[in-house]
């Protein structure tokens, strides 16, 4: 560990480093400004409504915790399941998992109206039938496990305990994340979300997100110029990612077909709206799935450098997946009767995030960038010699 201030504030002034530093600082400033707006105006600073009560902040929370779970799962390939090539990424991936979940918690703390009350009554009067209770509690346990795992990986190196907490973190992460899917899957009032799809899809998309983030973090660190031991890891990662994307595309295709088939009221209309929107076609499908998938497919899994750029488009796609998940779930109004003589009949709901929501939500990425920078500076995240 190196906690000196001088070490923290000195870095190579390359154009890319400076660009990331400026973007990170701007996003952090946006987060702080958004938080101030929220403290001044509460939920009135958001564009959420009675009919569309969740918006960008829930999407960004999901985005961050998906990233965390994904990094945890991918890192476990090495230090839990013992695949040699992946052992070298363990420390950095777990650091990323901790930082992304903390970023998610920072965002959700400004969306939940009473976070302190939540900490008290989650314990005093637990709602055991609530997927949010299970998700929150399991994510708390998950965070404890991965913090201890990181401790035994970097500060007091002990591979026996790091593996034990690694297994605990993986299991708690999988349970928590599938419960996050169930937050949407349990909504009997929303036929497009209700069912088994989301709990499974969340784990699948978390693994894909983990792959993308490993590419981006290592691509930035090594400036896309990798030593041989990393190349060997990336070639395996390509195969895993290609398979996961194939399964995701297959899942999505059947989800859409079953939702449209028979034109069931409410469900078919909502899915038709969702799949014909540019968010889905350009964001989710093209950027999130097809570009990375085709690069892996047409290069026979041998492309490493292009995959860093494909992972950037992939993460934009992952963002749209999270955003659409929230918006598409809520887009169909729960009452289709108009409430006023001088009103048009209700239609699908409109939602676009407010500036405050964007500042808090995207500002969370600034927290992640800062966290990754500090972790890189303070801890030795490279593999131990025996690896």
């Amino acid at each position: 560990m190196n906690l000196s201030i001088k070490n923290l504030i000195t870095f190579k002034k390359t154009p890319l480093n400076l660009l990331v530093a400026v973007i990170g600082a701007l996003l952090l400033a946006a987060f702080v400004a958004g938080a101030v707006m929220y403290f001044l105006h509460g939920h009135h600073a958001f564009n959420v409504t009675r009919q569309h009560p969740w918006g960008l902040l829930i999407a960004m929370y999901v985005f961050f915790v998906v990233s965390s779970t994904g990094l945890c799962i991918i890192s476990s390939i090495g230090h839990v399941f013992g695949v040699k090539e992946f052992q070298q990424i363990g420390k950095r991936a777990i650091a990323g998992a901790i930082i992304t979940i903390l970023s998610g918690f920072a965002v959700i703390a400004l969306e939940i109206g009473h976070p302190i009350t939540m900490l008290i009554y989650n314990v005093l009067t637990p709602g055991l039938t609530s997927a949010i209770w299970w998700m929150g509690t399991l994510y708390g346990i998950y965070l404890c496990f991965i913090l201890l795992e990181f401790f035994f990986l970097t500060i007091k190196v002990d591979h026996k305990w790091s593996k034990i907490f690694g297994i605990g973190g993986l299991l708690a992460g999988l349970a928590a994340h599938s419960n996050l899917g169930a937050v949407f899957g349990f909504l009997i009032s929303r036929p497009t979300a209700n069912g088994v799809f989301y709990p499974v899809y969340f784990i699948l998309s978390a693994m894909i997100t983990g792959c993308y983030l490993i590419y981006i973090i290592y691509g930035f660190k090594y400036r896309n110029n990798y030593p041989d031991h990393l190349k060997a890891m990336f070639l395996k990662l390509n195969k895993i990612l290609g398979m996961l994307l194939g399964i995701l595309i297959f899942f999505e295709a059947w989800k859409i077909l079953t939702a449209l088939y028979g034109t069931m009221p409410e469900r078919a209309e909502t899915i038709m709206y969702a799949v014909t929107s540019p968010n889905f076609l350009i964001g989710e499908l093209l950027l999130g799935m097809l570009i990375p998938f085709f690069i892996i497919l047409f290069t026979n899994g041998q492309a490493i450098k292009p995959m860093v750029y494909a992972s950037l488009t992939g993460m934009i796609g992952i963002f749209f997946m999270r955003y659409d998940l929230v918006h598409d779930t809520l887009v169909y109004p729960m009452t289709m009767l108009k409430r006023s003589e001088y009103q048009l009949p209700p239609t699908l709901l409109h939602y676009f995030p407010s500036p405050t929501e964007m500042m808090i939500g995207f500002g969370g990425i600034g927290i992640t960038i800062l966290g990754l920078y500090v972790a890189e500076k303070v801890f030795n995240l490279d593999p131990d010699p025996e690896h």
């Binding site: 509460g42 939920h43 959420v48 409504t49 009675r50 009919q51 009560p53 969740w54 939940i112 109206g113 009473h114 976070p115 009350t117 939540m118 009554y121 989650n122 005093l124 009067t125 637990p126 709602g127 039938t129 609530s130 997927a131 949010i132 209770w133 929150g136 937050v183 349990f186 909504l187 009997i188 009032s189 929303r190 779930t329 809520l330 109004p333 729960m334 009452t335 009767l337 108009k338 409430r339 006023s340 003589e341 009949p345």
Partner: protein, 187 residues
């Protein structure tokens, strides 16, 4: 102990919305686009001008359905939403963390955020205001000029609502979801 419910002879509704005003006044609901505990839904008139079907124009007064199997109660992470001793679905503002999961889960759009307590609020059959003072009617029922609403104990065979439901046919909204709503729309 009672099991309160409400029957609505909705075809008698004249859309005067006195019920909405009475509810707001009785329960101190703040002004605002999203702030309402009850409302009157209006069906679109059918046909093309000038051949409009006047009989197709019906109104559907609505509010929390006080489901026996309420999705909003099941999803609440802190049990802030609970059934009181009379089967009324209520919110304890002390325990509400404003995650708004219940608003998402309600199939009837019956919940909103109360800016006084900054927690989720909804119809509670005037439990705090009228029933607590010994009244036996809700504000919306008492004010209705065409006597659309009948409020009472579903477990009491001699209550007005029980007698009404015995002799009249009724429908319930989204009952296929298994929510077991306690609002009955008389046919």
């Amino acid at each position: 102990m009672a099991r309160y419910g409400m029957a609505l002879d909705y075809k008698s509704c004249i859309n005067c919305r006195a019920c909405e005003s009475a509810c707001k006044a009785e329960n101190g609901v703040l002004p605002g686009r999203d702030n309402y505990r009850i409302w009157v839904g209006q069906k679109e008139i059918e046909g093309q001008f000038p051949k409009l079907s006047i009989s197709s124009l019906t109104y559907q007064p609505s509010q929390c359905q006080h489901c026996d199997n309420a999705p909003c109660q099941q999803v609440c992470p802190t049990n802030a939403t609970y059934y009181d001793e009379n089967g009324v679905v209520r919110v304890n503002p002390e325990q509400c963390i404003l995650c708004t999961y219940c608003i998402n889960a309600c199939p009837y759009d019956a919940r909103y955020i109360d800016d006084r307590t900054v927690t989720v609020d909804k119809c509670n059959f005037c439990s705090d205001t009228r029933l607590a003072n010994g009244e036996t009617t809700t504000a919306c029922q008492a004010t209705c000029p065409t006597k659309v609403r009948t409020f009472g104990d579903l477990d009491d065979p001699n209550s007005d609502i029980s007698k009404l439901l015995e002799k009249r046919e009724y429908k319930q909204i989204k009952e296929h979801l298994g929510t077991k709503p306690k609002l009955f729309y008389l046919l």
